[in-house]
């Protein structure tokens, strides 16, 4: 394999390798630290492997670590995040699919203006909507609930998902819809029988994007949820910032990895479809 190795090539590989190490190093440190004992951490080198591998920090992070007054670990908050993320991703993705279908295939007077307004929604900073959203959640009686967080994320995410689906459906020839209309299919039949079956790639993009955004969100979580209903990102912050007792780096690292696992998992399962989906439409199918 080194037959064609020129100096330029070698430099490229060297640079790539350096970059890979640069990006993988934090993960390496987090993983090794989470398996070290506290003594090991204090005495040893940050980059060294654990002297003795032990999973105690993981168990503690999951079930016993203190996140403020409570000391039940991350587990409850992990499920909170799951309960928030799954419905929010599902609802916002489906809404985006229907929106995208309408603004690309069923143009009506003002549909372009509507789409532009939705686009603007993508550029609104989180902080701007905090106060009005708090008011709305109060009015709806959803303050401090997971359902409230789901609503916030659906509202905020629909702008993005609509954009994704619209840009995907715009590449689908509208003759397809015309043909289906002549065949006698209605609005929903066309959507479910003709368009949804070819929307796989864009669903993957949308789900990865929304899952990452919603799972990783901290601001909405910390503002609109408290105590029991907090998502894992807020819990992680509380765990790391708890000032009582010894600073347990191994537990912090384990908790951080636990918090990141679902997004890592989604990327590993669907990541290769992500790029494929982003470039879908560039090539005629």
């Amino acid at each position: 394999m080194f037959k064609n190795l020129t100096v330029g090539r070698a430099l490229v590989y060297a640079a790539l390798l350096l970059m890979a190490i640069y990006y993988l190093l934090p993960l390496y440190v987090m993983l090794t630290t989470s398996f070290k004992s506290l003594d090991d951490i204090r005495e040893g080198n940050m980059l060294a492997l654990p002297q003795a591998w032990q999973g105690g920090a993981w168990a503690k992070a999951w079930a016993e670590a203190c996140t403020g007054v409570e000391c039940n670990g991350m587990q409850g908050f992990f499920w909170n995040s799951i309960k928030m993320t799954l419905p929010a991703v599902a609802i916002s993705t489906l809404l985006g699919a229907v929106n995208g279908y309408v603004v690309s295939m069923w143009r009506f007077r003002g549909s372009d203006a509507l789409f532009t307004m939705l686009l603007v929604g993508c550029f609104i900073p989180f902080q701007v909507v905090l106060l009005p959203m708090a008011q709305l959640l109060g009015l709806l009686g959803l303050a401090n609930t997971t359902a409230g967080l789901v609503l916030v994320h659906v509202v905020y995410g629909t702008a993005f998902t609509t954009l994704f689906f619209r840009n995907f459906y715009i590449t689908v020839p509208d003759e397809l819809v015309k043909a289906a209309r002549i065949d006698g299919a209605g609005f929903w039949t066309i959507f479910f029988r003709i368009l949804l079956p070819i929307s796989g790639p864009i669903f993957v993009v949308c789900i990865i994007w929304q899952f990452t955004q919603i799972w990783n969100d901290f601001l909405f979580g910390v503002v609109f949820a408290s105590g029991e209903s907090q998502p894992i990102t807020v819990a992680l912050n509380n765990l790391v910032n708890t000032s009582t007792g010894v600073k347990e780096y191994n537990v912090d690292m384990a908790a951080a990895i636990i918090a990141a696992l679902p997004t890592l998992f989604v990327y590993m399962v669907a990541g290769r479809y992500f790029v494929r989906g982003l470039t879908a439409g560039a090539v005629k199918g």
Binding site: R109, P173, E175, L176, K178, A179, A180, R181, I182, D183, G184, A185, T189, R193, I194, P197, I198, G285
Partner: protein
């Protein structure tokens, strides 16, 4: 099957653009209508309006004597074949063909029988379980036709169905569409920008430009008697020669004067003298088709005017050789027998058959005679 009539149909978009300005076309049950014209002439819009995919701004469209203006596409009893074929990508050929029948709640046994019949007719039985992505353009084209045939509609609409195929396949499919029409006696509206497809397929042709039907008639009538300069130039390949010329009186004859660099000839016109009289001394556009300027051997009549012309270029096509000469400073194409054609730089005697020549008003582009 049903007759189609289009009465004074207009289309105006919300921004005020007039796409169609009063279209009147009527065809009988079983006729093959071609809508032909350059891109942007409104032919596809008209087809979409017949299909019900576009709203009608004013006027009426009737299928089988029944006004369909407000009917949705599915209630008009039509089927359409699209340029991109528009096959449902996620469905197999069988599902594509049966989709419309399923939606109309046709019994399963009947659907299966129809799919079988249509597939056999189009010789696509072996493709039934494939998806559109696994087929060639020609095969997709057949499936698209099969989908339309399965429905057995009152009218078939074709929107440039052959323009995505390569040249050889296009000619083959053209013949098949014509055969299908002869066998099924179906009413067809066919949009194309290709004048050869228009001539070969149609019972009636509507030549369109700028949202107006320039001429509506049988292919031969449109070829022989074009209504104006546009139609004359659009139909026919190679297209009609347009030579700017002056109408002159020579003895009892009225003719047009054509010159090359050596000298001039007056070609006497056998047309209606009453119509020509007013144009004597004026400039007109003299339209003559390439096959009407030929060599002495090919010309089938004696006593036609002859002119020796200097050849600029020749283009052998096989059955004919196209000879290009320059008359009145205009490039003129002549269709000659391959063995009679001379070479560039040489002089050749060309016979002008002016009986089918036409004259146009250079200002209005309307036909004079």
């Amino acid at each position: 099957m049903a007759a189609l009539s289009i009465n004074n149909v207009c289309k105006t978009y919300a921004n005020g653009t007039d796409v169609l300005k009063g279209i009147n076309i009527a065809i009988e049950d079983g006729e093959f209508l071609i809508l032909v014209g350059p891109s942007g002439c409104g032919k596809s819009t008209l087809l979409n309006m017949i299909a019900g995919l576009d709203d009608i701004s004013s006027g009426d469209i009737a299928i089988g004597g029944k006004r369909v203006n407000e009917l949705s596409p599915k209630d008009r009893d039509i089927a359409m074949v699209f340029q991109s074929y528009a096959l449902y990508p996620s469905m197999t050929v069988r599902e594509n063909i049966s989709f419309g029948l399923e939606i109309r709640k046709t019994p399963r046994a009947e659907i299966d029988a129809t799919v079988k019949r249509v597939a056999e007719m189009l010789q696509i039985t072996h493709l039934l379980e494939r998806k559109p992505g696994q087929m060639s353009g020609g095969q997709r084209q057949r499936v698209a036709m099969g989908r339309a045939l399965a429905r057995n509609p009152a009218i078939f609409l074709f929107d440039e169905p052959l323009s995505n195929l390569d040249a050889k396949l296009r000619v083959e499919m053209r013949t098949e569409i014509k055969l299908m029409h002869q066998r099924l006696k179906s009413t067809i509206v066919y949009v194309t920008h290709d004048q050869i497809e228009a001539m070969t397929l149609g019972d009636k042709i509507a030549v369109m430009k700028d949202g107006i039907v320039q001429q509506f008639g049988s292919p031969q009538d449109i070829y022989d008697n074009p209504a104006n300069l546009f139609v004359a130039g659009f139909i026919g390949s190679p297209s009609m020669n347009f030579i700017p010329a002056t109408v002159v009186q020579s003895g009892s004859d009225i003719g047009v004067k054509v010159c090359d660099d050596k000298g001039c000839v007056v070609l006497p016109l056998p047309h209606d003298k009453a119509k020509l009289a007013g144009w004597v001394g004026k400039e007109v556009i003299f339209g003559i088709r390439p096959e009407q300027i030929t060599d002495a051997r090919t010309a089938y009549r004696d006593g036609l005017p002859v002119m020796a012309c200097h050849i600029d270029v020749i283009e052998p096509t096989g059955p004919d050789t196209l000879v290009f000469v320059s008359l009145n400073n205009t490039k003129v194409c002549c269709r000659t027998h391959p063995t009679e054609a001379k070479y560039p730089g040489e002089s050749m005697e060309l016979v002008f058959d002016v009986s089918k020549a036409v004259l146009f008003d250079p200002k209005t582009e309307a036909r004079i005679v």
